[in-house]
Symmetry: C2
Subunit: 178 residues, 2 copies
């Protein structure tokens, strides 16, 4: 794995755990085993790093998610979507990167905000394609699902209890699918 990818991996871990303002170039460098100046070589400013972080996270997220039409039933599309978030919470044991960045949005460099915005927009597009219907209602429902999952991660992490996430998605399922 390239040093650049190692840096992104470590930085993503910190960002999803502590937030954009909760880690430094030195934190990353120490964990990767290089010097902070070398991190600046790959990502000149923290904004550049944050931007790359959010873009890579989004690309990986949607790659893992697959096409909304890849599975046939609404029920299974929902399960797949929820599962992608759940894995981020229970396997990585961390926040959704863009959920974290969304909370901090007012203190982020513009490029990072743009990538965060784009992640959410792509989520809404995916959900609209997965659960079609009347345009306006479909969009509302998409935002609803996205918001609920991001919020569920915050609550579950504060309680150190993935059950809070599952409780939320169970309720969400009956709201959206029935």
């Amino acid at each position: 794995m390239s040093k650049s990818d190692e840096i992104l991996d470590v930085a993503e871990g910190f960002a999803r755990e502590r937030g954009y303002n909760g880690f430094s170039f030195r934190d990353i460098a120490t964990k990767v085993g290089i010097k902070s100046a070398s991190v600046h070589y790959h990502f000149p400013t923290k904004g550049d790093l944050g931007e790359a972080l959010a873009r890579r996270y989004a690309d990986r997220f949607f790659s893992e998610l697959g096409e909304p039409t890849a599975v046939a039933s609404a029920r299974r599309r929902f399960a797949r979507y929820v599962g992608t978030f759940r894995k981020a919470l229970t396997v990585d044991k961390k926040m959704c990167l863009c959920g974290m960045l969304g909370a901090e949005v007012a203190s982020l460099p513009p490029a990072v905000v743009a990538e965060t915005d784009r992640f959410f927009t792509r989520n809404i597009d995916w959900l609209q394609a997965a659960f079609p219907g009347g345009a306006k209602r479909t969009r509302r429902r998409a935002i609803f699902i996205l918001a609920t999952l991001e919020g569920a991660m915050v609550i579950a992490r504060t309680f150190h209890d993935a059950e809070a996430f599952d409780a939320t998605t169970a309720e969400l399922a009956s709201a959206v699918l029935d």
Copy 2:
């Protein structure tokens, strides 16, 4: 208003805008018009400040919310609950303090985590009292509502669009009330 309250007001504004790691004692001092050492006089450590911040925020929140049984119908209780969050978003134009802290939970002093946890617990208690029913299902629904509103604030702020919040709560209303 006491200097201590002024400090809390300013600090709350910063925390809800930038997160716990996004402001300093000097930021507060400058805006209040005193020196950073004077902020330390009132709140020795940043943890003390954060703890006071979260506790005051929670107390004000529930004072504004009133008792869950103060209004008779489930529909009006829901409207009151949602309205309290909506005001935080549209009047203050900021995140819910504890929603922000919940995202950052892994990088906060223990006392701040405890207060954040307590805010969420009190919310769930309020919601369970407001929308009674079978114990387990009631709790699930309470977590669901709380998570959805916190998430809706994150999305709405990233999009700079309160309509995203309203879209979410409209969907949530029909999920919970119908």
